[in-house]
Structure formats: structure tokens, C-alpha cells
């Protein structure tokens, strides 16, 4: 018993150093070589940092493509989903309200065209992406709000479609980068 305890104590100390310190430091050293130096890849627009490439942010106006509803309002100090169950009546009411609101802002859109992702909260609350369908359906509104030709906005969307894993994975559009490009579109 005493012998076991002594071994345990020593082994624990050595392993804490090996696994809790040496190992993360090694990974941090490797991380230094990556974009963002291991502290998250930042996005710069107009000479200032406007966010992190991987972290979604809130876009509320009609002028921007909007990301998904967020249970934490895109505050990346934390993260969180809605954790609403699929049969929860309050939740279904909330989704219904989002749909109605979306239809008000996008009068040209048919209800049946709205992809679910735009009215349901993401898992992390920080989802940086929407699907191409989620972007296309907003093209008309954004183009109108910015008084841009619809085709050029549509082309911009097309250009931002990512097709990871040789097209097997879901196609995504990074909302932040799309909106930065949108700001630059004249």
C-alpha cells in the first residue's frame, strides 16, 4: 500500500510534467509555424482585424449576408447551442418567428425555399458558414440593399463556395469572407 502510494506519487509528478507541460509546449511550438501562430487565424479588412476566419460573427442588417441564428449571439467568449428539443413548442414558435421575419426582409422569397439552416441555431453558436442555398436566397435582398446588380452578387457567392474533401463534404460559404468581399465589390 505504502509502496504503491510512493510509486503513484512519483509517477504522477513525472507524468504531469511530461503530459501536462512538455507535450502542449511541443504542440505550441509547432503551432507557431501555422497561420495565426497557433492563436487563431485572424482576418484583416481595410487594414484592421475584423475577426477570426473560423469564428462566425453576427450580421444583422439587410446589407450583409446573414449567418445562422446563434444561441450566444456570436459572442465567442463562450459558445453554445440552443439545446432545444425538436418537439419543444416554444422552440417551434421561435423558428416560426424567424421564418416570418426572414420573409419580411426577403419578400421575394417563397417560404418553401428557405433552407432550415437560416432559421435554426447552430451547434456552437459560432458557425462561420452557411450553405450555398443559404447564400443564394439572400442575394436578391443584399443586391437590393446595396443597389448592386444581382448577377455580380450571385457571382461573388459562387466564387466563395468551398467544396472540401473533393466535393464529398457539404459545400460551405464563409459568411465573414463573403461579406468582406461584398464590401469591396463596387
Amino acid at each position: 500500500m505504502k509502496k504503491n502510494l510512493l510509486i503513484s506519487l512519483r509517477l504522477t509528478i513525472v507524468l504531469i510534467i511530461l503530459l501536462g507541460l512538455a507535450y502542449p509546449l511541443l504542440i505550441a511550438a509547432v503551432g507557431k509555424l501555422t497561420p495565426g501562430g497557433g492563436n487563431g487565424e485572424k482576418v484583416v479588412a481595410n487594414g484592421r482585424v475584423v475577426g477570426y476566419k473560423q469564428i462566425g460573427q453576427s450580421f444583422t442588417g439587410d446589407r450583409y449576408f446573414q449567418g445562422r441564428p446563434s444561441a450566444v449571439n456570436y459572442n465567442a467568449a463562450g459558445s453554445g447551442g440552443s439545446n432545444k428539443g425538436p418537439s419543444n413548442p416554444d422552440y417551434l414558435q421561435q423558428v416560426k418567428d424567424r421564418i416570418d421575419s426572414f420573409l419580411i426582409h426577403n419578400p421575394a422569397v417563397q417560404r418553401s425555399e428557405i433552407p432550415a439552416e437560416l432559421v435554426t441555431a447552430s451547434g456552437s453558436g459560432l458557425d462561420p458558414d452557411i450553405s450555398p442555398a443559404g447564400a443564394y436566397i439572400q442575394v436578391k435582398r443584399v443586391a437590393a440593399a446595396r443597389q448592386l446588380p444581382e448577377t455580380s452578387v450571385r457571382q461573388l457567392v459562387e466564387k466563395h463556395i468551398m467544396k472540401p474533401m473533393a466535393g464529398l463534404a457539404p459545400e460551405t460559404i464563409n459568411v465573414l469572407q463573403l461579406n468582406i468581399a461584398l464590401d469591396q465589390l463596387k
Partner: protein
């Protein structure tokens, strides 16, 4: 859609492709044969010398368990202390406070037992110091504990008659140095390259494109995320775990994390075949487990990819499936696969919010944890499977008219008693505590506790019941995932799940090790035509049936009142 399903199949196949050679390698490592990681030998010798370990000293099952439990109890005390005082320790750039004693109790146990149920959010509940010195450390050593226990069982099954199940310290150290650490370094580097933070900078404040000021939590997460999957631990660095874009930046890392969490559990099945030289048995166990997994994955994926019927009624389209709680970059198909894998393998990391899963998906997640042996956790999955095997051996032995034998050793009252106790334990822990919680919600919703029982649930009705059931099922399976809507960071949940966690971890390890220790002490009986071979497909079928029947009988009423009731009321 088909593309997404193809990607899931590819992920699984890649896992198998890696797991098979890894299994062979693992067998060689524990058998002390030459491997490509022999350069670690000096490090191991150093660890032995510093700690005063004689790696060659044989241990019987009691000595083995004593050593294992001693060091585990030490870790528990250490972890709890650190978590309580973390606020005053260095490496706390975000200035997070120490944990309350009940939360520290829960967290320390949770990570000690490889569960990683989290009643806090990583961004605010821990400091970088505790994330590394407590959480990451425990994620390594708890996985290594499971592996060492499994190898002890292998040793008992390997030899005809033996007292010696192997030296715990040696098996434990090798699990760290030869298996977990090298694989973690590879995994963590891949994550870091793909954008997961690994540096030590604290929370950042930025002004967004549209001018909001928000904060972004960061930290040296990559290393922890690698071990949380390879060790089937599951706790997230960030609150939303692997749904968080830093923790799981893109589809590739999603695949990587999926492969990492399934890798060792599957490799250990193959290792069983190589190590005790019963490849056919390994193949049959693998097949049974895979069929079991498919039985859960397929309905889950169907439910998720066909979308929510309630959302469909609102008149919008769900082109890829149900999206509440899911990330666009993963999509419902990969998220469905993940949600099953993480529950059958006791990882408990999530890339979507299980609370928002479709009822059938929630059902399969619960079943995965209740069964807890389709692949199962790092090392412990096979131990759980062994318990089912003992019961299957016993019943089918009787059915062929012969005192039951497992690999040449008679299974008698003592072994059946242990196996029955372990089986009983999980039914008891899950149902008794869920009943207690349900009782509080039903009868004392306004109890003047930190959080009133009436406010625990994030969802009403059947789904609320599922939240409570899920929490204890997850704790009992040492899984760690949750229906996270549950308000669980308060003394009631911290303390009750803490007890469930610790009992459900150690008894199911002690049980199989003791059974094999007892069996290995018995006279070896060579096989004859009258012997029921456990490496036959028929026996595989029996084991599968035993798994299904035991769990169905134990949990059917609870499942009927939770996910089944929700499912039927949604489709009507």
C-alpha cells in the same frame, strides 16, 4: 447528400485501415516485442527509475487492482485541489475563478474516470493551467488506465493457467509512451495545422465587420483535443466541444477527430486477436460490434438527414436534414455518424448538440451509451463486452448441456455473480438516479436549491425526461456527452452524477479483471467437440442477443417515456 454519406463511409473505412495495423502494433508493444517506437525505451526506463518501479514484477489480479486504484485515488485528490484553487494559480490569462467544491468534485471525478461530463464551459470554468495539468493529464492517464486493465484481462485469457496478469505500472507507462503520446502528437499537429489554437494567448477582443465588439476565447487546445479523442475522453476545451469552430475547424478535422476516437477501441479488438492469438474471436467480436453500430447509425442517420417533421410542417425546406444544433461544415450526415460513434465509444465529445437531435437519433445515442460495448471506450469497451460474453457463455453453455467455459476456463457462480452485479449496477445507477431527478421535478419543482428542480429542464414533457435520462446514462457510461440544455451545474447534479461516475467506472473495471483473474487461476480445459466455441458465429449471435435483451429489458420503459413517446407524438 450521397456525397456526405460516402464521406462517412470513407471515414469509417480509413479508421479500419489504420486500426488493423495499429492492433498488431499494440499487441507487439505489450508483448515486449520489437517495435518502431523502441526509441521511447530510455524515457520509460527513466520513468521507472524515478518512480521506483520494477516493471518485471508480476502481479496477481488483486495486486494489479490495488496499484491501479491507489494511483487513481491520488489523481482524484490532486485534481480536486487544483480545480478549487485554480483562480489563484498562474497561466490564467482570462482570470477565471476557482471551481466550487461540488463542481470540482464532479469535474475531478469526471475526468479521472474518462467520462468528461462537463458541468462548466471550458472558456470560463478552467484556466490554461488546469486545462493542461489537470484535464489533459487526466485524459492521458485515465485512458492509459483503461488500456492497462484491458491488457491485464488479455494476459489472463492468454495463458492456460496463471496468477500473473502483468505489472500494472509497466502496462500503464507503455500505454502512455508507446500508444497515446505518439498518436496524440500526430493528431495534435494535424489539428494545429488546420487552425486549432495551440498558443498560450488569452481571450482576444475584436471589433467585427459590422462593428460589434466581441471576445474570442482561445488557448493551447490542439494537444488536449487530440488526447480527448484518442483516449475516448471527450471533454471539450471550449463549451460546445467539437462543434466549436476552433476545436474542429473544418470537415477534414471532423474526419480526423472521428478517426481518432474510434481508432484505439477498434485497434484493441484486433490487438486481442494478435495478443492472445485468437484472430477469429477478434473478427467475430469486431463484426458483432460493427453490426451493433450499424443498427444505431442507420436509423439515426435516416432520421437526421430526413429532417425534423415539426420543422417540415412550418413549410420550409431541409435540403440536408435537421440543422438545429448542427454546424453547416459538417452537415447532418456526418453529425449523425458522430453522435452515434461518440456515444457507443464513450467519448462524449460532440460536433452537434444532441439535445436538439431527432427523437430516434436521441434514442440511438441513449442506446449506444446503455450498451456501451459496441467498440466502447479506450480499453473499457472490451471489458464491458467481456461481461456480456460471460452471461452469454453461461446461458449458451447451459443450452448445449455443458458447464459453461470461456476460452478453456469454467464459468461458475462467482464469475456469474460478478458479471450479474456489473450488469445490475448500470441499470440501477441510470434508473434510480433518473427516478430521483424525475421525482424532484414532479413533486418538488420549487425546492429552494441553487437551481430549482422546476428550472432544471430546458425542454418540457418527454424531451425534458430524456434530458435527465441522458445525463445519468452518460454519467453511467462514462461518456460525457449531454443533452446540454439540462441545468446541471448545481450541487444536485454535480454530486449525484459524481457518484454515478465513480461507481460506473471502477466497478466495471474491477469486475472483468477479477473475473479473468479468477478464471486464469482455474484449471485449463482443452477444447473438445462438445465445447461451445466462443469464436464461432453462433456464439457471436448469442452475445449480440444478450446485449440487446439485457438492455431492452432494463431500459425499455424509460425509453418509452422519453424518446419513443416524443417520436410517436411527433409523427402522428
Amino acid at each position: 447528400m450521397t456525397g456526405e454519406i460516402m464521406a462517412v463511409i470513407a471515414t469509417f473505412l480509413v479508421t479500419l485501415l489504420l486500426a488493423y495495423p495499429l492492433g498488431r502494433y499494440v499487441a507487439r508493444v505489450y508483448a515486449g516485442q520489437k517495435t518502431i517506437t523502441d526509441f521511447m525505451a530510455p524515457l520509460e526506463r527513466l520513468l521507472y527509475r524515478i518512480s521506483g518501479i520494477d516493471p518485471l514484477q508480476p502481479m496477481n489480479w488483486k495486486q494489479f487492482l490495488k496499484a491501479m486504484l491507489t494511483i487513481n485515488m491520488l489523481w482524484l485528490v490532486y485534481a480536486m485541489l487544483m480545480l478549487i484553487v485554480q483562480g489563484k494559480l498562474p497561466l490564467n490569462p482570462d482570470g477565471n475563478p476557482g471551481q466550487t467544491p461540488d463542481l470540482a468534485f464532479n469535474t475531478a471525478i469526471s475526468f479521472l474516470v474518462n467520462c468528461n461530463l462537463q458541468h462548466y464551459s471550458g472558456e470560463t470554468g478552467l484556466t490554461y493551467l488546469t486545462q493542461l495539468l489537470v484535464i489533459t493529464f487526466l485524459q492521458f492517464v485515465s485512458a492509459a488506465t483503461g488500456l492497462a486493465a484491458l491488457i491485464a484481462v488479455f494476459n489472463g485469457l492468454k495463458h492456460r493457467t496463471t496468477q500473473n496478469l502483468g505489472n500494472f505500472w509497466m502496462l500503464f507507462v507503455r500505454s502512455v509512451t508507446r500508444i497515446l503520446l505518439p498518436l496524440c502528437i500526430i493528431g495534435a499537429v494535424l489539428l494545429a495545422v488546420n487552425g486549432t489554437p495551440s498558443g498560450f494567448e488569452g481571450k482576444d477582443t475584436i471589433t467585427t465587420l459590422q462593428g460589434d465588439t466581441v471576445q474570442v476565447s482561445r488557448g493551447p487546445a490542439a494537444g488536449m483535443i487530440a488526447i480527448k479523442h484518442l483516449g475516448t475522453n471527450g471533454g471539450g476545451w471550449f463549451g460546445t466541444n467539437s462543434a466549436h469552430p476552433f476545436e474542429n475547424p473544418n470537415y477534414f478535422t471532423g474526419m480526423l477527430e472521428l478517426v481518432m476516437q474510434v481508432l484505439i477501441p477498434v485497434a484493441m479488438i484486433f490487438a486481442l486477436g494478435f495478443y492472445i492469438n485468437r484472430r477469429r474471436l477478434a473478427l467475430i467480436i469486431f463484426t458483432v460490434m460493427t453490426v451493433g453500430m450499424l443498427c444505431l447509425v442507420i436509423p439515426n442517420m435516416l432520421a437526421e438527414t430526413s429532417g425534423s417533421p415539426a420543422i417540415a410542417q412550418l413549410g420550409i425546406q431541409q435540403p440536408t436534414g435537421a440543422m438545429e444544433g448542427k454546424e453547416v461544415r459538417f452537415g447532418p450526415a456526418a453529425s449523425a455518424y458522430w453522435s452515434v460513434v461518440t456515444t457507443i465509444i464513450s467519448t462524449g465529445s460532440v460536433n452537434s448538440m444532441h439535445d436538439s437531435s431527432m427523437p430516434v437519433a436521441g434514442l440511438t445515442q441513449l442506446l449506444g451509451m446503455m450498451i456501451n460495448a459496441f467498440y466502447g471506450g479506450c480499453g473499457v469497451g472490451l471489458l464491458n463486452y467481456l461481461i456480456y460474453m460471460i452471461i452469454a457463455v453461461f446461458i449458451s453453455g447451459l443450452m448445449v448441456g455443458r458447464t459453461p467455459e470461456l476460452l478453456g476456463h469454467k464459468v461458475e457462480a462467482r464469475e456469474v455473480k460478478i458479471a450479474a452485479l456489473v450488469t445490475l449496477l448500470s441499470a440501477f445507477l441510470v434508473k434510480a438516479f433518473t427516478a430521483l431527478a424525475a421525482y424532484m421535478v414532479a413533486h418538488h419543482p420549487d425546492m429552494a436549491w441553487a437551481v430549482k428542480p422546476g428550472n432544471w429542464l430546458n425542454n418540457p414533457s418527454y424531451h425534458g425526461f430524456s434530458e435527465m435520462l441522458y445525463e445519468y446514462t452518460s454519467a453511467n457510461a462514462n461518456n460525457g456527452s449531454g443533452f446540454e440544455g439540462l441545468g446541471d451545474n448545481n450541487p444536485f447534479w454535480n454530486i449525484t452524477t459524481g457518484f454515478v461516475l465513480i461507481l460506473a467506472r471502477f466497478l466495471p473495471i474491477i469486475g472483468p479483471v477479477a473475473i479473468v483473474g479468477l478464471l486464469a487461476n482455474k484449471k485449463f480445459i482443452p477444447e473438445s467437440p462438445g465445447t461451445l466455441r466462443v469464436d464461432s458465429w453462433t456464439f457471436g449471435m448469442v452475445t449480440f442477443a444478450v446485449i440487446i435483451i439485457i438492455n431492452a429489458l432494463s431500459f425499455f420503459p424509460a425509453l418509452a417515456l422519453g424518446p419513443l413517446a416524443e417520436y410517436f407524438s411527433m409523427i402522428k
